[in-house]
Subunit: 239 residues, 2 copies
DNA sequence: CCTTCTCTGTGACGACTGTCACATTGCAAC
DNA sequence: GTTGCAATGTGACAGTCGTCACAGAGAAGG
């Protein structure tokens, strides 16, 4: 298999297309240069922890490549996955801005490349670059919308089956390949982790996936998933 | 009873202490004047709808007085309350910024006074007032943190009893009066609505409140609630 | 190939809680 | 007061889903 560090490395975010599309969309080169001056680039293997819930905020991580999961745990060890972060996202934003402790834990689920920016540097950067503020506002809005979507789906009276169907559809949109057979995608998480995303137990996820397979709505082989009947899945999701 | 319009009216947000503390904290008078030029003040009775989920975003509402609930409904009529908004909050922010439809419905639960700002005016205002951008970023962060708290509490495996206890504690903090008997507060929502906040049925909320009363952890008369044993409530909430 | 660990599939069982049904209370308008 | 409607209290019952227990399946490293 690929080494954990087997990634293309781009030394500046000039060459990082995801950052260019999000944090720096339509911004002048000077803004990027100012960013280069305060960021430090790091590589992380799969399973690395960027920051932990409850820590004082050191700063933000701009995810350039790879994906991470953002989780919250209760004292008794119950864990919820708030969302998956994709390349281009800024992690630790709300803690860094408010100065409150990180509220979530960020852990890579793939080999990742991320820029770290210290809190005081980042706050100064925002004050000096009003244009970036607008981008940050847009990104926060987007994250907030995703959070609301999740809250809505939890609005009980929604069954675990509905939430799972909704999640698979969402993944199909975000990272699926459409073919004539259906939508192919690779499950980025284990059943255990999927359970933590939809507020269910691992066993329930296994059973629900098995059920969808028997109904020929999906096929599974290993972590490969094929959505054969998008409409059926959609109706299960209650949309 | 009070008339729905029985509110003190301040014609500008110079005199609105909540806005002054949040959106305009530490900002020069010129910034406030620019805001006055684009806002329009309105009064709303209890039960008024500011905007509805799915509508194209017209702009933001800055809540000056009174509280509102923000809800999301599924096609089948199941409703979730995402949060309660207090004076000083800006409603409709994420939709106005992203240009996507309002994701939530805002409905007053008390007589309210709110400033409306049209979308294009608001976006221009943000571009011209970098300081306000920082305030908006802070407010979005705060809302996002609240959303994450809610997502965490839904991380199933949490029972309805835990979520209710957590909600009552939260309300005790935010709007309770501490006395020697305990923490007094007025329930801002009906059982039905509380149920929609914690993802449970109305009957479950009634039963759980009854149970807490029998255990002498709380007392109820009408919509008045007294938290007699904060610690017991806290342990029920799993904190 | 063998070992070990994690991940996945499945059965049994019980608790929580949603739903339905109805009684009761409270409040507001007339 | 009284009429009407919304909000609340409570019982019965069924379904979902969490938990426990264990078996098989894969993957990684020797």
């Amino acid at each position: 298999m690929r080494s954990p560090y087997d990634l293309e490395i781009s030394e500046t975010c000039h060459g990082c297309k995801f950052c260019a599309e999000r944090l720096f969309r339509n911004l002048p080169a000077s803004t990027l240069h100012a960013f280069d001056a305060i960021k430090s680039l790091s590589l992380y293997p799969k399973g690395a922890t960027l920051f932990v819930e409850g820590q004082q905020p050191r700063g933000v991580y701009v995810l350039c490549a790879g994906r991470a999961k953002l989780t919250a745990s209760s004292p008794e060890g119950k864990t919820v996955i708030a969302r998956l972060a994709e390349p281009g996202e800024v992690l630790g934003l709300s803690a860094t801005i408010s100065g409150e402790p990180y509220q979530l834990t960020a852990e890579t689920i793939e080999p990742c490349q991320a820029d770290f920016v210290r809190r005081d540097d980042f706050l100064r950067y925002l004050r000096e670059q009003p244009e970036v503020c607008l981008r940050v506002i847009e990104m926060l809005s987007e994250i907030l919308r995703a959070a609301h979507t999740q809250i809505r789906s939890f609005g009980k009276t929604n069954s675990a089956a509905e939430r799972l169907a909704g999640l698979l559809l969402c993944w199909g949109e975000r990272m699926g390949d459409r073919t004539q057979e259906g939508i192919h995608l690779k499950l980025p998480l284990t059943h255990q982790e999927i359970a933590q995303m939809i507020g269910a137990s691992r066993e329930t996820v296994s059973r629900l996936l098995g059920e969808l397979r028997h109904q020929r709505i999906i096929s599974l082989n290993g972590s490969g998933l094929l959505i054969r009947d998008r409409d059926a899945l959609s109706s299960k999701a209650g949309h």
